[in-house]
Subunit: 312 residues, 2 copies
């Protein structure tokens, strides 16, 4: 099983921290110190998860032949339509009839849950060329003026082609995927919430989220390396969920790996939810050297977590 | 792979057709003639998909030991929380740490997509005792006064235990599951929609939905029987998606099977979305005789469709 191509889509509009100073008094230095975030993208009026997913898919079509796609899986916790889902919208765009198409959410962990769903279809022999699309439209559900979390979120999308066989020199082998819920821990079920008809997106228990994000992403990274008889020395790059630069740095310090091995985009994109890690992967896609070992480690509301080991 | 137990939860409050006559002028006879629906349930103020899913799970715990559950999959297009999802809420209720927990939607087809996701985890050896929870809170997103579709929807939930091995005399073997998107067909992507921040739940192209629901559910039933060298004579019971009694009757007539082989609850529950078929299965769970062949055939927004063949 291989990740064979990745593309991204980012809305044009940039929202800098200055916007929040005039809105709710949070200054640029206050936001940067606590989150690392300097700016984020905001979808235009006529954009949503569906249009952004199609834009990311169109970008993927420029480098990948998607005519043989036989499974579409989408992830998002900020859906535009939960009936005619992102997956169906992308299926309509591709014009490929009668293939399994499913939308899912495990909050910010959905990329890995989508990968594991694809892994299952491959294991059953029901698919061999899958398209994963991840899109978050946080600004549609966010209350900008919320001083706890209004400044954290950004919009963006990624499209990932996952193939059973190695089809390109850029293909990365998926060595292992592990996902789980951690709803039994701390403020799992109300640390971060998105209730469409009851307050939208908010983070009522940010401190608990922060602590568990640090712990789980470090632990999951260690575990997946140990499962594969590898140590931190074998790890070339770590991509953690892009929630907060301080979390990313905390994980790296706890694991005692050099900061330059951690790839981030939080500083200029904010928290783009389940698309964040995939966007990082897409931004660096052509730069990974043959033999590189990459771990993607995620944590999100619910709580939810997981890790994936890739080898170029 | 077996469905080993099923339970249901229905909110107490019953909404009869009389409610609509005073609201928007639709009479009982008009609604019954066009849909077969006489009444439907409505969740209370303090209920939502999460609480209903837990109630269905609690009902399942009365007849099934859920302490070994190692995978939770939930389905719904009417979510209360897309970050701390139904699956996480149910995981918190069960108190089982570190098991894969994922929420999905393929509109009214989600039961079968959830089954197929479980099938994949079983195939990978990553789970063997799964809990599927399906919950729809249509009334949270519905506009009652919409004369096209306001009267169609009801609320309800089901919980299904799916095991790799046969663990009970009531266990039904899952012979085959097939799912697909049909977004390329007709008004696939805008036949039925649920846009949380853009109009909620509506059915702008009901006629196209009706025609395709009839066609796809009949075709899928035929196909899955043919795949297993069976004919309509081998079919003991057919459970179609509970959208409209006229659709159910149309499918049965097209397939030339006796009306009594079709199991329905639409008359007293309305369209309970992805939970509808599972609720029918739960209502009849102890009545199926050994050897019975049952097909569940679904169709939903997106469009999405699928069929599952069960053998008691």
């Amino acid at each position: 099983m291989y990740i064979s191509d990745v593309s991204i889509y980012l809305p044009e509009k940039v929202i800098s921290n200055d916007y929040f100073e005039s809105l709710n008094g949070l200054t640029n230095s206050w936001i940067v110190e606590r989150t690392g975030i300097k700016e984020r993208r905001k979808a235009a009026e006529n954009e949503n998860t569906h249009t952004m997913a199609v834009k990311a898919t169109e970008a993927l079509q420029e480098t990948s032949d998607l005519s043989k796609v036989d499974l579409i899986v989408s992830g998002s916790y900020t859906p535009y339509d939960t009936v005619s889902t992102i997956s169906h919208f992308v299926q309509h765009h591709l014009g490929i009839a009668d293939i399994p198409s499913v939308y899912l959410s495990s909050a910010c962990s959905s990329f890995l849950n989508a990968m594991e769903l694809v892994e299952g279809y491959f294991a059953m022999g029901k698919a061999e060329d899958a398209l994963i699309v991840l899109a978050e439209h946080n600004t549609a559900y966010n209350n900008d003026s919320n001083t706890k979390s209004g400044h954290l979120w950004g919009d963006g999308a990624a499209a990932i082609r996952v193939t059973k066989e190695k089809i390109s020199e850029h293909s990365m082998e998926v060595i292992q995927i592990k996902t789980a819920g951690a709803a039994t821990v701390g403020r799992g079920i109300d640390g971060v919430v998105l209730r469409p008809f009851d307050g939208g997106l908010s983070m009522p228990n940010g401190r608990d989220v922060f602590i568990n994000a640090c712990n789980y992403m470090a632990k999951s990274t260690q575990n997946i390396l140990e499962d594969n008889q590898m140590t931190m020395q074998n790890l070339d790059f770590l991509i953690t969920h892009q929630a907060n630069l301080r979390i990313a740095k905390n994980v790296v310090e706890n694991l005692e790996i050099p900061l330059e091995k951690a790839l981030n985009n939080i500083e200029y994109l904010g928290n783009t939810g389940c698309a964040g890690c995939a966007i990082v992967l897409g931004e660096n896609w052509r730069n990974f050297k043959k033999g590189a070992n990459i771990v993607i480690s995620v944590f999100g509301g619910g709580y939810s977590y997981g890790a994936m080991l890739l080898k170029k």
